[in-house]
Symmetry: C2
């Protein structure tokens, strides 16, 4: 490994080195708690419980104590808790007044495109059927909760990209939970951009609650927060631990880790644009993974130079460079097949193909959350206005999980409604297996029917 002069951006040369480095770096370690996380624990508990035990206790407090517990926990952490946990019409109106008209209009255009994409996706989703007395019913979930994180980072686009697929799928009740922050007048409320995005998406219930207490409230319900059937959306370590613990009692979409973008590029790619796309990924946070696999060594070296140059006046320069050094990197791999094999093994959240005849190679991608084909389709377009949800599986989970889609908001009930003739035809086989499993009452349930005929 070498790296660019004045930064710590690694450059790996050769498929073996790239593969080894990337696959060993994929999962973030089970890090020590951050200073902020330790502070939250100290504020909530006197006896210094371990992290998982702390999350268990927060959940139990909310289950038993409802609204009062939610407010107590928020008060202990933030010093103050919102009076009401539900965003009011007045707060929605104030939010609308605060957001510039051009931005509202941009969010509306984005929402329209996201809605249209998911309407087409719904046409291609699983369908109810009935055939020879057997079938299935495919139907939307009744009530879902979307967790929208962030007091530091505020992403209205994430509101659109989770709420709209839910509504297109036909979910009757979609609610949002998001931490409140104190406004200019001291009263804690949810950020205006999120509230405007919620309204544009068509969600009118937003709860002012964050952290593990939000997940517990959505799972069990409180006086003012209705229980939901499934909870969606990323969050901090407390949110993620609460989701994992409550999985089963309530539906959980996924366990999200840091974001990842892998770009596979050849000699036809424009290094300026490749570098710009890597920086767009890198600016998210210190643990983001911006990765280039170049099949041209010239390209890899030029992208390295461009990264240094372009990051120079970037507002989030230090975060971007940290990300490139921590979990990102540039690889030169001579063959495109090797590059695709590494990508399939890594299973990145986002995979961009910027190679000659890119569309012909798209079919060779087995594992990726979202695929971006060609130089006119950068991930930044998908983050906002392209159409597919930008919520995608991370940490290699694209091996087994899907990009967020309307199917995640639906469920299948299978149906058995056979004729007396069919029952008579097949029940002897069933009885024999039942007896072999020593489930005699199963066999008798069928035998009694045969005797009737």
């Amino acid at each position: 490994m070498d790296s660019t002069a004045d930064t710590q951006i690694p450059i790996w040369r050769g498929a073996d080195e790239a593969r080894r480095q990337l696959l060993s770096r994929r999962r973030p370690d089970d890090d020590e708690l951050s200073e902020v996380e330790q502070q939250i624990l100290r504020r909530l508990f006197d006896d210094g419980p371990e992290f998982e035990e702390a999350v268990r206790r927060i959940i139990e407090r909310v289950r038993v104590g409802g609204d009062a517990a939610v407010r107590e926990i928020a008060g202990a952490i933030d010093g103050a808790a919102p009076e009401s946990l539900v965003v009011t019409d007045e707060e929605f109106e104030r939010a609308r007044d605060e957001v510039p008209a051009e931005l509202v209009s941009a969010l509306q255009h984005a929402a329209d495109r996201v809605r249209r994409y998911h309407e087409v996706q719904l046409e291609h989703a699983a369908k109810s059927f009935s055939s020879d007395g057997l079938g299935q019913l495919v139907r939307p979930l009744a009530r879902v909760g979307l967790y929208v994180p962030g007091t530091a980072a505020v992403y209205p686009s994430t509101v659109l990209h989770t709420a709209i697929p839910a509504l297109v799928a036909g979910v009757a009740k979609v609610v949002i939970a998001s931490p409140a922050v104190p406004g200019d007048d001291g009263a804690a409320t949810v950020n205006s951009l999120k509230l405007v995005a919620a309204q544009i998406a068509g969600v009118d219930t937003v709860y002012k609650v964050g952290g593990a207490q939000a997940i517990a409230a959505l799972a069990y319900g409180t006086e003012s927060i209705g229980a939901v059937d499934k909870i969606f959306g990323p969050g901090n370590r407390f949110v993620t631990a609460a989701k994992r613990r409550l999985y089963g009692a309530v539906g959980i979409d996924a366990i999200y880790g840091p974001t990842e973008t892998m770009i596979i590029a050849d000699h036809t790619a424009n290094p300026e644009l490749v570098a710009a796309d890597l920086l767009a990924q890198a600016e998210h946070d210190d643990l983001a993974a911006p990765i280039l696999i170049a099949t041209s060594e010239t390209l890899a070296d030029e992208v390295a130079r461009q990264l240094v140059e372009q990051s120079d006046d970037l507002p989030r320069r230090q975060i971007a460079l940290n990300a490139l050094g921590n979990r990102g990197g540039l690889a030169f791999v001579p063959g495109l097949d090797d590059a695709l094999a590494i990508a399939n093994e890594y299973a990145p959240e986002h995979l961009a193909l910027v190679v000659e005849n890119a569309h012909q190679r798209a079919g060779d991608v087995r594992n990726a959350g979202g695929l971006f084909v060609g130089e006119a389709s950068p991930e930044a377009l998908g983050d906002y206005v392209a159409g597919p949800s930008h919520v995608m599986p991370t940490g290699g989970s694209a091996r087994f999980s899907s990009a967020l889609n309307v199917g995640e908001f639906m469920k299948i009930t299978t149906v058995v409604q056979v004729s007396d003739e069919l029952l008579d035809e097949v029940s002897a086989d069933a009885e024999m297996i039942a007896h072999a499993e020593r489930l005699d009452a199963h066999a008798r349930s069928l035998e009694r029917r045969r005797r009737d005929q």
Copy 2:
């Protein structure tokens, strides 16, 4: 509440009472560890760790120690460990010799019907599409592991009902993990019925490993056990805790609890058959939930009498009566709408409709794993030969989860491949939102492209 004379089968009269009793009884309490579970902990650990800590340690041991750790753990628990963790061709052959030809034939017939059903289901599953530069790729997972529990209960039907949907979905590598038990010759192997069912389904890799160590081995891989992308199937408390803990690092199908059957029946139902179907559910285990909601009080009372009568010579009589008393029960509810409302709130694993014009009411069922319509379609038929997988969501999770289906073995990658014209048309909106989110490098990734044109 009253109950039948010489048993403790509860009978609730009225919708309010039924609703209150059923919904308060839905989730099993977080019981004390059983004697067997405590024994396993004592055999594995000297320092008496808590249950969750014990599971964490088992997983960590297997992650670090591979095959040797798996064998060490099995040895500590069972007193002996299988020499090889992989079932050999000879063991498959011996199993085939042990199982009577009629039973093999019954399992083959069942397999054929399960396969045919899932082939139709695949036709109605989510589809790839491409439209105006946007689309999705729907593809099977590469490698899945099926956990097949049981040394006490042996269910070859579960092997068919999990492996066949996986293979129909197109999964290239399907493997099974199941605990080994000592055979007549003292060598530990997997039960013959399971091995024969695996062969009939088309699975030729079976690992002799159970418990949390099996889940860890499937998630991380060992020298002789290949890592998989997603793990399916129910199991004991160790298995379930390991699945929950590893969720995210590997795909997990669901968290399964005790089985449930709710029958909604009216005056047209045959009480003898209703009772037989309730007993078929009740014989599974002490925590199974066999529930009748009758809209005829005469029917409810007659079913109660039939339960006593029919259970009299049932081999698993005591288990069945325990289940009826623990989490089962009979309810009389005057209106069918009330009965359906309770069912939708309870969200049972299995729901049988034995009412006049049953098929016309099937559409009113919102939440159930599997729906059995009419007297000719008892659950016992679905358990073996009807066609849909008998693996279904329990514990109310039918609110948000599906009966096992081919879609669970597939995943969606979204695709963005737009034209230069579209990029130019929509990128101003994307840049505006990016700036609002303070993600300037996102905006620049798009701006640099516009400048190019």
